[in-house]
């Protein structure tokens, strides 16, 4: 009994934690019917529905607090602010009704409904409750209370001041401490794509596609449309890569100035070799020139590496190039400083005149290289934008809006029809992420997934489907037909128009059982005269049309036959069983 109690307590605690952890609530809106999909439900949504994404800010706050205790001060202030915002969300309506001399019955009902919500919010938070009690006590104190007045304007005004104060405190804390974003992706057999969530990102919808419920065949127009869309997609993909390649080649072509650094290096080595033997040149100068020479060698190595990398530059590897360019630019600045030092030192020696041509050469070369690197940086910026779009499915693009808790919208909307081509079984992923700026300069931000919901898209409810396959037909009154062939079963091509049901409660049914019932049309050749007969009847299917059975009537020979079909999704040697074709 004791252990039973302990286990039930544990289960209750786990269940409570499970409920508390839910920040994202999803409401499916399908044909004007709303259904909240809780975590305990099967995560199945209708493929043509629209989804309402609701976020619980207080749960989100809890989750952030648990994972990032270092944000405690910031979060406590935000928590207070959210609770105040929540409590005061309808304050203007209350004031407006109170200001009316004669409020109508429905206005009074609205007033009481709002005030009930407000007072519930107040009582739910001990701090707010205490503040409300204090304010009411002050309101009724003999100095300020005037009979005939109501406390709401006084209370709201003070709570609004509290909000302003918290906002100021938040502003005085470190800005942009974190941001919250909501993302959605579609995952299918070809990879996936981002999905637009209204209010949470500025992506545009993909092609608007309604998955048809009643399909009897694929029309020629649909086929053409599909091919045309396919071509457009291919062209767009090609175009994206081409733009990248063109920019890359242009950058490499413009980046020729580096030849001057080679010449300069050779001349400087020669100069150093000459002065090595000259005792007049102080050791300090010689060392400085050697140091400069080492820097130039390093620059040359790095530049060659950059050029090789640029040549093999992939659209997905832009950040590497960016850091290489930045290293080289820094090194160039060091070379320039060192060269100035050498020039100053040499100007004090007798080899000054010999060194002057080298100074002039360096200055010209340095100016050209600097100019080219500037071009490279600008060009790279363009390429970075291309990269952002290209890997938008993996990285958080600029289109994904970043919010703080106080300006995070409570609701977002996904219209699944606007997510382009999709099919039963494709997945929809909704993620709530916390974005923290990196402690290292120029490094990408830290993205932590706070909560994730994954749904299977399915055409729920009734739908029709066309299935083609082979059946094994067995004539019921074989003796009456006077057939020449002794076989019991005849291979027969058949087509079926099936009525099927998609479930929003069972993955097992959708993915495995998938029963269907409908009309079957077949062309058997029982009398083996080479001319197909025509048969039609009832068919039932199961397991994604792998197994089928039914009864047909052979209209040509005026006789019934029953049949079964085994349409395996793979070929067995020697058995003329074809793949399922829908």
């Amino acid at each position: 009994m004791y252990y039973l109690k302990r286990i039930s307590t544990l289960v209750l605690v786990c269940f409570t934690i499970g409920i508390q952890a839910q920040i994202i609530s999803v409401i499916e809106n399908d044909k004007d019917q709303k259904r909240t999909i809780s975590l305990t439900d099967k995560q199945i949504v209708d493929i043509n529905s629209s989804l309402e994404i609701q976020l619980s800010k207080l749960q989100l706050l809890d989750a952030i607090q648990q994972q990032f205790p270092q944000l405690k001060q910031h979060l406590e202030l935000e928590s207070k602010l959210i609770k105040l915002q929540q409590a005061l969300r309808n304050q203007s309506a209350v004031i407006s009704i109170l200001e009316k001399q004669l409020a109508t019955a429905s206005e009074q009902a609205t007033f009481f409904e709002i005030m009930n919500g407000f007072l519930t919010d107040i009582q739910n938070d001990p701090l707010l409750n205490e503040r409300y009690n204090d304010l009411m006590a002050k309101f009724f104190s003999t100095d300020t209370f005037a009979p005939g007045t109501v406390p709401e304007p006084y209370i709201f005004s003070n709570l609004n001041n509290d909000m302003l104060q918290i906002e100021q405190e938040l502003a005085s804390l470190e800005a942009d401490i974190y941001a919250v974003s909501v993302l959605a992706f579609k995952k299918d057999s070809s990879g996936g794509d981002r999905v637009h969530i209204q209010n949470y990102d500025t992506y545009t919808n993909r092609d608007y596609v309604t998955i048809k419920r009643w399909v009897t065949s694929l029309s020629t127009e649909q086929k053409q449309q599909l091919e045309a869309l396919n071509d457009i997609a291919k062209q767009n993909n090609l175009k994206k890569t081409n733009v990248f390649n063109e920019l890359k080649i242009k950058l490499l072509e413009e980046f020729k100035s580096i030849t001057c650094i080679k010449d300069f290096k050779n001349n400087s080595i020669e100069f150093i070799n000459n002065i090595q033997l000259n005792d007049v040149v102080p050791t300090e100068v010689k060392n400085k020139i050697e140091q400069l020479n080492l820097l130039i060698t390093r620059f040359e190595t790095l530049f060659l590496l950059l050029k090789t990398d640029m040549d093999q530059w992939q659209i997905t590897l832009l950040l590497d190039i960016k850091s290489e360019v930045e290293t080289i630019v820094t090194l160039l600045k060091t070379i320039d400083t060192n060269f100035s030092d050498v020039t100053t030192l040499i100007n004090q020696t007798r080899v000054k005149t010999k060194f002057m041509p080298l100074v002039s050469e360096f200055n010209t070369c340095y100016a050209t290289i600097n100019k080219d690197f500037e071009t490279l940086k600008q060009g790279a910026a363009l390429l970075f934008n291309l990269q952002n779009n290209y890997i938008a499915n993996k990285a958080i693009g600029t289109e994904v809006l970043a919010f703080t808790l106080d300006n995070l919208p409570d609701k977002g909307y996904i219209n699944l029809k606007g997510t382009g081509q999709r099919k039963n079984g494709d997945e929809l992923l909704i993620e709530l992420v916390l974005r923290l700026p990196s402690a290292v300069e120029n490094a990408p931000e830290q993205v932590v997934t706070i909560e994730q919901r994954e749904f299977i898209m399915q055409l729920t409810g009734p739908r029709s489907e066309v299935a083609i396959g082979l059946i094994f037909a067995n004539p019921i009154n074989k003796e009456d037909l006077n057939l020449q062939n002794d076989r019991n079963f005849f291979y027969t091509p058949s087509a079926a128009l099936l009525l099927k049901f998609g479930s929003n409660k069972s993955h097992f049914y959708n993915d495995f059982l998938d029963f269907g019932i409908g009309l079957n049309f077949a062309t058997p050749d029982f009398n083996t005269d080479g001319t197909p007969e025509f048969g039609t009847g009832i068919i039932t299917t199961a397991f994604k049309n792998i197994i089928s059975a039914g009864v047909n009537y052979n209209l040509t020979l005026d006789s019934f036959y029953w049949f079964f079909g085994v349409n395996l999704p793979f070929n067995l040697p020697g058995i003329p069983i074809n793949n399922i074709k829908n």
């Binding site: 007033f111 009481f112 005030m115 007072l119 009582q123 009724f140 209370f145 406390p151």
Partner: protein, 140 residues
């Protein structure tokens, strides 16, 4: 305790208690709050309820009746609770420490149980719930 809009129900005279209660309940356009018991928390809550009774929303008056034990008026209040469809109206009478009567239909609403706090917010909510009960019955 300087109470302006609170009446103490006598504990030693059942018929007088009944008639006082009846006189208040029969008043039209008046919200009647009944607070039951005489504990420290109740004594702290009475001035708050009295203060709130000085307020008037949409021309409805408010009054507080302080019933200091669970015997007096118990049958009458239980009868009203039985007729009510408000939240918590089916709770045991001895578990209730505050309730309100709606101003026109005299229906019980805004019930506060013993384990809940009698704060300004909860008392004000109790008044509002009772008034909301008859809000749609107001002819404006």
């Amino acid at each position: 305790m300087n109470l302006k809009r609170t009446t103490l129900i006598p504990l030693d005279d059942d018929s007088l208690a009944e008639s006082i209660f009846k006189s208040f309940i029969e008043k039209e356009m008046m919200l009647l709050m009944v607070i039951i018991g005489d504990t420290d928390t109740i004594r702290e809550a009475i001035p708050k309820a009295d203060n709130l009774a000085q307020l008037s929303y949409f021309k409805m008056e408010r009054w507080v009746l302080w019933v200091r034990n669970y015997e007096i008026l118990s049958e009458t209040l239980k009868k009203h609770l039985k007729a009510s469809d408000a939240d918590k109206s089916k709770e045991d009478y001895n578990n209730i420490k505050c309730l309100c009567f709606s101003p026109i239909l005299d229906k019980v609403d805004g019930i506060i149980l013993k384990n809940a706090e009698l704060s300004y917010a909860s008392l004000q909510q109790s008044f509002f719930k009772a008034q909301a009960h008859d809000a749609l019955a107001v002819n404006i």
